[in-house]
Symmetry: C2
Subunit: 141 residues, 2 copies
DNA sequence: GCACAATCATTAGCTTTGCTAAGCGGGGAT
DNA sequence: ATCCCCGCTTAGCAAAGCTAATGATTGTGC
C-alpha cells in the first residue's frame, strides 16, 4: 500500500472517528452518562476491582481526570471506592449492583444506537468492520 | 453474525474511537491547534469562504461553539471574518495566507502521527483497516 | 410604509473533560 | 527513626460542547 493511500486512510479514519463520536453524543440521554463515564464504567464492570492508576492508564487519562470521573460514578451509585486492605494508599474501585446492571442491561444507549446502525450492514461488511476494529484497537493503544 | 457479536463490535468500536482521538490529541502541540480548531481550519481552507452556520453544520457543532472556535483562529491570524456583502447579518469566513500555508505545509500533525502508527502495521492489516474505514464512514454518516 | 416575524451571529452562563502543580497520608529503606 | 517515594486527591486553568437570550438585519403581510 502506497504512502498516499496510507495517508488517505489515516485522514479518513480521523474524521470518521470524530463524526462517529459527535453523532453518537446526542444519543446519550438514556443512561445520562457521558462517553468517558460510560467507558470507565464499562472497564470497571469488566475488569473487576481496579486501582485508580490502572484505570487511568487503561482509559489513557491522567489520574486526576479519572478521579473526578469516578467521583461522578460514585455519586450516581454505580461504583464504589474502597481502601485497599493491603496498601491503604491505594483504592479498589468496583461496580455496584446498579452499575453492573446498567451495563448488562445494554444500558449504553450510545452503543445500542451504534448496534442499530450496524444492523443495516450486510453480514460480510459487519465481519470486515469487526476485523478493522481489531486493528484499530492496536493502533489506538 | 450474532447479535452478541454485533454488540461487541459496536462497544469496541466506540471505545477504540474514543481512545484513538484521546491519543492523537496529545500530538497536536506542533501547530498549537486543538482537534476542533484544526478540523475547522481544514474545512475553511478547502471550502473557501463559508458562513458560520454552514461551517457549524459541516463540523456537526452548534453555532455558538463554532463562533468561539473561529474567534480563536482569528486571534491567531489564520482566518478572517468579513461581513457578507449581500446579507449583512451573515459572515464570510475565509483562511488568511498564514492559515492556508499552515494546512498546505502538511499542517495536520494528527494525521501525520496516525500515518506513523499505520506504517507499523503489516500490509494486509493496513488493507483490512482501509476496508473497515470505508464501512465506518457509512456508519458514521 | 410600517410593524412583526424570521434569520444569522454573538454573548452569557453552565457542564464536562483534559491538564499540571501542589498537598496529604501511608509504606518502605537505610 | 527518619527520609523519601508513591497513590490519590485537591486546586486551578483552558477548551469544547450545550441552551437561552440579545442584537442586528432582512423579509412579509397588510
Amino acid at each position: 500500500m502506497g504512502d498516499g493511500q496510507t495517508r488517505d486512510v489515516a485522514a479518513r479514519l480521523h474524521s470518521a472517528s470524530i463524526r462517529l463520536l459527535r453523532t453518537l453524543r446526542r444519543e446519550d440521554d438514556g443512561s445520562g452518562l457521558s462517553a468517558p463515564r460510560l467507558s470507565a464504567l464499562s472497564w470497571i464492570v469488566a475488569e473487576g476491582p481496579v486501582s485508580l492508576a490502572d484505570l487511568a492508564a487503561a482509559e489513557q487519562v491522567r489520574p486526576p481526570t479519572m478521579s473526578r470521573i469516578v467521583d461522578a460514578l460514585v455519586e450516581r451509585g454505580l461504583v464504589s471506592r474502597v481502601a485497599a486492605p493491603r496498601d491503604r494508599r491505594s483504592v479498589r474501585i468496583m461496580a455496584t449492583e446498579d452499575g453492573a446492571k446498567l451495563m448488562a442491561g445494554g444500558g449504553e444507549r450510545r452503543v445500542r444506537a451504534l448496534v442499530g446502525r450496524l444492523h443495516k450492514l450486510a453480514d460480510s461488511e459487519r465481519r470486515a468492520l469487526a476485523r478493522g476494529v481489531e486493528i484499530l484497537e492496536r493502533v489506538a493503544r
